[in-house]
Symmetry: C2
Subunit: 145 residues, 2 copies
DNA sequence: GTCGATATTTAGAATTATTCTAAATAAAGA
DNA sequence: TCTTTATTTAGAATAATTCTAAATATCGAC
């Protein structure tokens, strides 16, 4: 069904499924928000705010840049999106994979791949004064293909 | 001699030692550059450009912000500094620890600790199409003490 | 349904870290 | 010293994001 590392996200949701996910998360499902979710929760792969705006310009005319930012923040706070920031770009990247995972950056193409936690074993052996709550891993390199 | 995780950097260099390190690295040792190195290679712990400028304002009047940025870039290209960017701040952070290592962020204080590679074992088990050239790890949590 | 309160959207201004520009100064080589 | 080249500088420009305040839409009580 779903190959690992495939590029296109297959978990597409219908507008009404999106609506109920928003409602469940305590977010009013306005037309703008549903539109943005259609893109960021389904079609898109690690989009930036700029890419969301570009998509909106084609698919939901008149949607403002401020609404793009407002909505992305709202989705992050609601737990439906994760915000990522990497050293290679100043732009924030949004990830609809909300379960814990790591990332691989293809340095040639800039493409970003999700890695499941069991693909990268991380075992901190720190002094007990350090209480680890969160682990972020970014592997960089190239992808043969 | 040097405890792990101590905050103050002890590896202080005299101006003439700094001068020779710059020359060795192919960087002309101007007065401004030596001054900035006194701070970023010795005293400072993960400073931002802003902090370097603030230090310069006290210790080397008239040094411009442009020179701060020019010099930091120069030192990074010369391999004497590493540039870090983390999700919790938009500012670039400079690290005078140029050997491979990871980081721990104290989420309460914002303090950043270097972790030696043997304090965090990372073993990627990726498909062979992924060629890993670089591993970045950021642990987040709290520090007792 | 209508009305008033609240929430959302919007365009454009403001902010922030950084980079760029072009002129002034300093240093190096003949 | 003179000339070329490198460095420094102040201030303008840039780019992503956030803020502001007005306009619009939505919700709940009646």
């Amino acid at each position: 069904m779903s190959k690992t590392h495939e590029k296109a996200r297959t978990h597409c949701l219908s507008p009404s499924e999106i609506e109920s996910r928003l409602t469940q998360a305590g977010v009013q499902p306005t037309a703008q928000r549903i539109a943005i979710c259609r893109f960021v929760l389904c079609e898109a792969d690690h989009p930036t705010a700029e890419e969301v705006k570009a998509w909106a310009d084609k698919n939901f005319p008149k949607l403002s840049l401020a609404t793009v930012y407002n909505t992305l923040h709202l989705l992050v706070n609601a737990g439906l999106l994760k915000e990522l920031k990497f050293p290679h770009s100043e732009k924030v990247i949004y990830d609809n994979n909300i379960s814990p995972h790591y990332h691989f950056l293809d340095e040639k193409t800039g493409e970003l791949f999700d890695l499941s936690p069991d693909e990268v074993e991380v075992s901190p052996k720190l002094k007990s004064i350090f209480q680890v709550k969160n682990v972020e891993v970014l592997l960089k390199g190239s992808v043969r293909g």
